[in-house]
Amino acid sequence: MKLTDIFRETFTSLSANKARTGLTMLGIVIGIASVIAMTAIGQGAQSSIQASIEGLGSNLIYVYPGVIQPGRGIVSSGRGSAQNLKSEDVDVLLQISGITNISPELQRRFQIISQSGNNTNTTVTGTTSNYGTVHNTDTQTGNFISEANERSLAKVAVLGSTTATDLFDEDDPINKTIRINKVNFKVIGILETKGGSGFVNPDDIVIVPLSTMQKVLAGADYLSSMSVAVVDKDQMAIVKQELTDALLRKHNVEEADFSVMSQADILSTLTQVIDTFTIFLASIAGISLLVGGIGIMNMMLTTVTERTREIGLRKAVGAKRRDINNQFLIEAIVLTFSGGLAGVILGWLVSFTITSLGIIKTQVSFSSVLLAFGVSTVIGIIFGYYPARRASKLNPIEALRYE
């Protein structure tokens, strides 16, 4: 039997009962569409988080004082509040060849008041001029903190764009004065807008020289974190190890009294969470696919019964079991495959709508489309197999007599 003949027969029989064909296909359409839409949402979320984490500066390793205790996760009293990470550590780490730059940081929350009387409560970061290169950021207007500012304990501040608007509304804040913890600071620059990543607003920030932060504002000589820039991604693991060894030697301890986290670690944790979530959503969608498949099987069984005499006739004129089997199997596959096609289009439209409504930026990946076609074809084969087999095994004499 030729393929063109099989497809002609399939078309004839599927178009014979358009309502039934359409309704049965709808099950597959909805199943595939939701799988496509769900994975698009998951992948969209993943890549937006990835982008915002990479936007914080690529190839970064973060060093925190204190230990993230096993089993207690990140929320441990140790980290950050410990005071054993010092400015001297920076000089030791800079000896390591894979490290290009280090931005030592001390963060505190302070109440900040502008000249015009607006006030805000935000994180003030004391850091050095390296901050910009390490964190992949620059000022939009004005200047960043210089080494001279650092040396002279200058009372100057760089504002994030959100903080700038909070404090000065539409006015230009450059050269204006703000009071941080009752100390006057001159605004010398505004950072470029990074855009929200959902969790924290990276634009709600104030940056001052590290020396000023330690001696004037906080009265402390330790660091709350260090951001370490590594020369390239492949060296992350080696550098992480060397960095840990160097700090252990410097602190003269056996077990680390600090924590080292790379961007890859943070990213993989988040990616894992999102992956789990995506799989969860997709499996719910998968259940509707299964139900759709059962609908297909039901319809095919009905079709086989309805067409018993036709099957008898076909066998009488020389159709073999295989011919009958192929015909019904291909009918089921065509049904699910076209359902899959419609589902991909519908799913794509749904995720396009979600993106254009600005809810979340979705991403329909080529692999999920390919997978959808694969899955719908497999469903056709699985749920078409039994009805087709039943048709092919019919006895021609009994089939011809069937009323």
Binding site: E310, K320, I397
Partner: protein, 232 residues
């Protein structure tokens, strides 16, 4: 050339045995027009199924063109039906919502014949069966009973079979239309030398054949030339 040698067919229903055919032998030469006649329950349907390679006998041999058909597998039987046998059924069994041409082409679909040749051969068969050319592209459900039976005859002819088996072909037709169908068989037998076996329970119908095999209780009761043949 058909040779049936000592064919027995037994159906088992539970513990009971039903002997539908009991040691039946006969032969039919190419170009003969034979009627197999008998009351219902006589075994003539079983005979038709075996002659049509739809079923195999419990015992005995059936040679079609010198080939033993009585022991073949399902798929081998399908090949025999495809190449050597044309069926015309009582209830016409045309594919619904399908054109006359497509219906006639159906047996060729399973032979893997190319599209153009299929159409050519289907048209020739329809001419032979006396079907009106203007209706070639009508759907099968738009036809009258007589037209449907002509399509069925054309379909039986299209694979150029050794044997045409007609199972009560006039059973669903009125007498006048039935006569037209029987006339078609006679003409095909006379002009194209087709071998035709007509299965019927009506003497009127059987009398259109050259030879009548009368079956009763699974055995041949009478087998001879039809001296009162009705030629239309």
């Amino acid at each position: 050339m058909i040779e049936v040698k000592n064919i027995t067919k037994i159906y088992k229903t539970g513990v009971e045995e039903l002997r539908a055919l009991d040691d039946v032998s006969f032969s039919i030469e190419d170009g003969e027009f034979v009627a197999i006649m008998g009351p219902s329950g006589s075994g003539k349907s079983t005979m038709m199924h075996i002659l049509g390679a739809l079923d195999t006998p419990t015992d005995g041999k059936y040679f079609l063109d010198g080939k033993d058909v009585s022991t073949l597998s399902d798929d081998e039987l399908a090949d025999i039906r495809k190449n050597k046998i044309g069926f015309v059924f009582q209830s016409f069994n045309l594919l619904p919502r399908t054109t006359v041409l497509r219906n006639v082409m159906l047996p060729l679909v399973y032979k893997g014949v190319g599209e153009e040749e299929k159409e050519q051969r289907a048209k020739e068969s329809l001419y032979s069966a006396g079907f009106d050319e203007s209706h070639f592209n009508h759907l099968s459900n738009q036809l009258s009973g007589g037209q449907i039976q002509r399509v069925a005859i054309a379909r039986a002819l299209v694979n150029n079979p050794t044997l045409i088996l007609a199972d009560e072909p006039t059973g669903n037709l009125d007498t006048k239309t039935g006569e037209v169908v029987l006339e078609t068989f006679q003409r095909l037998n006379r002009e194209q030398g087709r071998t035709i076996i007509l299965i019927t329970h009506e003497r009127d119908v059987a009398e259109h054949a050259e030879r009548i095999i009368f079956i009763k209780d699974g055995q041949i009761f009478e087998d001879g030339r039809n001296h009162t043949r009705r030629i239309i």
